[in-house]
């Protein structure tokens, strides 16, 4: 299979990989195969959802993110904490403790992604006032979902909210503010995201909707967490740092973004399987009367991201506790103009799942695929390294596998050979037959 030059934050540690098929079976875009005893990722299909990282019993699937030392590369550094970070701590009801601890960690300033989220919510509300947009509007904030739609649900791309996600907005606003304050050029200012998930790393390195992301580095919540824990007790009292309200912080859990749109007719689905079901149904127009659809690849929303520390549902409860003490919302757009939040470049369909660019060739391949599938056993055992017999049949017509890779086909052949041998061995040569 051809591999384009795609960046992915999900990678494989070959040493740790046992070549089992847990990740192969789990992958929602059938992007993983086992070859030569090791898992490989078909890069153009991968949407960085992190399911393989979650399922791998040997911790061979990993997410790439930046080391904490990336901070040293910038003269002025700003922490951009994800709302889900607020759900990681015990007995916490004051966000300022986290933000203060980030400053003690060496950040010159903090710009909450939750603050940017409130601005994006306001921009979304304004966007939804337009009478001519396709409905329902589908959220674009989860990078894994956006990438899933791009490869599997092209017809729904026009429903996708064409606005930057809060992290991108946060980086832009934070860097502009810092440049004004310090007089430093942008390249000396580092906007560093504290992330719950690997898909966000990909969204920074290979952004959609813009040419280049303004985020300069991505740290994992689980790396930053232990430092914050020890620094929190040293945070001076009476620091008022947080500028985000309940609506912005709510983005950390599933349903938060949709609720902040302030429309009653919304749906929020989380967990990649559920997201796919909703997208399938949206494509078939099975829903009527919906204004907004929020989709998150992780169960529970961003609190379910694989780079978090806390169990997603516990984190969700903790997030609620933090939210309780915040005002409803603290941020609104200065005017009616939502253009600063709009994508600069459209997100287009990537037909990576097609059998062939030529329809007639694709038809021929589909016929072969169906024939091959008919010859296979339909056990979907995964021993050949593909997630199902159907996927194997497809791999064969794509020239990526052979029928002999099926252990049941192999056994069938051995049986035939064995029968042949036994038949031959029971036939005595003429020379040794007795004459009667």
């Amino acid at each position: 299979m051809e591999t384009k030059n795609f960046f992915h934050s999900v990678t494989l540690d070959r040493e740790k990989c046992h070549g089992c098929i847990n990740c192969v079976k789990r992958c929602p875009t059938e992007a993983i195969r086992v070859r030569g005893g090791k898992a490989i990722i078909i890069t153009e299909r991968c949407i960085d959802c992190g399911e393989c990282i979650r399922i791998c019993p040997h911790h061979a699937k990993q997410a790439i993110f930046d080391p904490i030392s990336i901070m040293d590369e910038y003269e002025y550094k700003i922490a951009l904490p994800a709302p889900s970070l607020y759900g990681q701590f015990n007995n916490l009801d004051d966000v300022d403790l986290i933000l203060g601890a980030l400053k003690l960690m060496g950040f010159d300033d903090v710009f909450e992604v939750a603050k940017a989220a409130e601005l994006v919510s306001d921009a979304t509300r304004k966007y939804m006032l337009r009478p001519d947009i396709p409905r329902p509007v589908i959220s674009s904030a989860c990078p894994a979902v956006l990438r899933l739609i791009r490869v599997r649900f092209p017809e729904l791309l026009e429903n996708v909210l064409p606005l930057h996600p809060p992290i991108e907005v946060a980086a832009r606003l934070a860097k502009r503010k810092a440049a004004q304050k310090t007089g430093l050029p942008y390249e000396k200012i580092g906007a560093i995201f504290i992330s719950p998930c690997p898909a966000k790393v990909t969204a920074v390195k290979m952004p959609l909707g813009t040419e280049k992301s303004w985020v300069d580095g991505v740290l994992a919540i689980r790396d930053v967490y232990p430092r914050l824990i020890s620094l929190m007790r040293h945070v001076p009292a009476s620091q008022e740092l947080s500028e985000a309200g309940r609506l912005g912080v709510g983005w950390g859990g599933s349903g938060g973004e949709a609720a902040a749109v302030l429309k009653e007719r919304y749906l929020a689905a989380d967990g990649i399987e559920n997201v796919i079901r909703v997208l399938e149904d949206l494509e078939d127009e099975k829903f009527y009367d919906l204004d907004f659809v929020e989709l998150n690849a992780c169960s529970g929303g961003c609190v379910g991201g694989v780079l978090n520390v806390e169990n997603p549902y516990v984190a969700r409860a903790k997030l609620e506790r933090v939210r309780k003490y915040r005002p409803v919302s603290c941020n609104r757009l200065p005017d009616e103009d939502i253009m600063p939040y709009a994508w600069e470049s459209p997100v287009e369909y990537e037909p990576v799942l097609e059998l062939d660019a030529d329809l007639k060739v694709a038809m021929e391949k589909m016929k072969q695929m169906r024939e091959i599938e008919g010859r296979l056993y339909g056990m979907d055992c995964g021993s050949c390294g593909a997630p199902s017999c159907k996927a194997m049949a497809e791999d064969i017509v794509r020239g990526f596998s052979t029928e002999e890779s099926c252990i049941f086909k192999l056994r069938e052949e051995i049986q035939t050979m064995a029968d042949g041998l036994s038949r031959i061995s029971s036939v005595l040569p003429k020379a040794s037959q007795e004459n009667k």
Binding site: P154, L359, M363
Partner: protein
């Protein structure tokens, strides 16, 4: 050119709402894989899903035959042996429904089935005989 086509025979069970939509979903997946334009895929998926639901609600299930051709597009033939449609013209009106309350309670039976099938297919014919059954033939052209 019949050699170029792919023919599918799909069963629609008559009594299981949870499985309604499986056939159209299978066809949708295939068309996507074949690289049909997103618009064609969508039209087929919606028209066929509506038809499939009708077969479950009114027809007691049946068979769907789908022919996919790289030249002429997608033809679908939905056959059931249900009660038949006494007045096709009336049935084609938006909002006209004979679905029982039990079905309406599930969110179906809004009277949009046949009108939507007409809207999303490029050709449609209904052959129905009361007491014998209904056949709906639909075609979605390429581009």
């Amino acid at each position: 050119m019949a050699n170029d086509t792919i023919k599918l025979e799909l069963e629609v069970p008559g009594d299981d709402f949870t499985r309604a939509g499986e056939a159209s979903s299978t066809v949708k997946g295939m068309l996507k894989k074949l690289g049909f334009s997103p618009n064609v895929v969508r039209k087929v998926a919606i028209a066929m899903y509506e038809g499939e639901i009708n077969m479950v609600i009114h027809g007691g299930g049946g068979q769907i035959t789908v022919e996919i051709s790289p030249e002429s597009g997608v033809s679908m033939s939905l056959v059931d042996h249900g009660p038949g449609i006494p007045n096709i013209e009336l049935a084609m009106q938006e909002g006209w429904s004979t679905a029982p309350d039990s079905v309406r309670n599930l969110g179906f039976g809004a009277g949009m089935g046949l009108p939507n099938m007409k809207k999303y297919s490029d050709e449609m014919e209904i052959l129905s005989e009361v007491g014998v059954g209904t056949t709906v033939n639909m075609k979605v052209h390429l581009a």
